[in-house]
Symmetry: C2
Amino acid sequence: MTPTPATAAMLAIGDELLSGRTKDRNIAHLAEVLTVAGIDLKEVRIVGDEPHIIADTLNTLRRSYDYVFTSGGIGPTHDDITADAVGAAFGLAVGEHPEALRRLAENYAARGMEFTEARRRMARTPEGADLIDNPVSVAPGFRLDNVFVMAGVPAVFQAMLGQVIETLPAGQAIGSTAFACPYGEGDIGDPLRLLAKEHPAVVIGSYPKFDGASYSTEIVIRSRDRAALDAAAEAVKTMLAELGRDHPAPAL
Amino acid sequence: MTPTPATAAMLAIGDELLSGRTKDRNIAHLAEVLTVAGIDLKEVRIVGDEPHIIADTLNTLRRSYDYVFTSGGIGPTHDDITADAVGAAFGLAVGEHPEALRRLAENYAARGMEFTEARRRMARTPEGADLIDNPVSVAPGFRLDNVFVMAGVPAVFQAMLGQVIETLPAGQAIGSTAFACPYGEGDIGDPLRLLAKEHPAVVIGSYPKFDGASYSTEIVIRSRDRAALDAAAEAVKTMLAELGRDHPAPAL
């Protein structure tokens, strides 16, 4: 028996993601990191800079999944309201975290820059939060219970996540094997459906690719059970060989 | 008075988005198109290929927003379960849509390809659905009430959305003005917060850019009220000029 993996959700925060001004780059990165760590990302939500919506959404997610990762809204400007929204979600007061304040003050002093009121905002966390280091630009994220609050700037998000992930118990990583298939999903759909029924311990995905003229497909099989994965891989190879006899590969 | 704009949510469907295998490209596109159309995208959710979760999420979203746009899960393979999940959400039977079946049969006949059982799956819609044309690869999407069910392949999603958006009443488009600001958010946070308070009809966003060494910021102001937008733009220009006196631009 493979143990049940831990589950996770992501909450990406920011009006700019919903207006199309900024293309999110953190969701796919988190998805990849969690997959390697053996943690199942079950759901992602993107919401705007509205404190009550952030708090309500966070409460739903943190009660539904083992871990919640947030991105965005922890900078120094008026639209950076994530710390307050997280505090509201947990019913905790938000104030300046002494260690965060120390790091920020030291950083700006070393750089000869004024430690403005705006910059002090980046030291604010809900009571009892543990800091997440920011090796890129100092201003920390924080952890509260099962919620990890991180920056939206991708370089910072990635650096923070890299530290966080090492603190979480590693699950049994999912193994996967990919097959390039020169046929469209319409050709492989029927045999693939049978194959999926015969290999219930394996998740079989098929991803159409369209080059503007014709479809091909990438077939990906995934499982935490190595033997089941190997058996399904053999079955896919057999299926593709049989399809090859029925459908000669298109001439170039 | 500017009328209240219509609201929208997106539901992106697919295990591949949550595993990191596929990077979503439809969310940002939808966000841009809706912004131009004057419809407010309020929330995005990404869920996996689990019928009950898709149905429950869709029911939440379609009751909360004026429009819901879905992507993914309408192809011919076993993991394409969106039509069934949408049917379950609405409590409607799912069957072959005659016009969809006709288009698909005609297409495969014209191309000398077998109209397999898998391909017939792409004709399935909940009862009473209206088709959304697919000029790229024929297999249609569909509309049911305020829900628009579209493909996950970006070229197809974009083609379907292009048609759908023309059928919706255009809102008052949001006007926006962007300002490149050579200072980090820490420098502009304080004056920008004051400015935001003085211009409540304008949404003011600040988006940090980090080039690996230092931060700059893009300030974006948005409003459906042209006069309010112009007034805020003048205020931002004044603020930047004053910042320029305090903080000479960094030497190159």
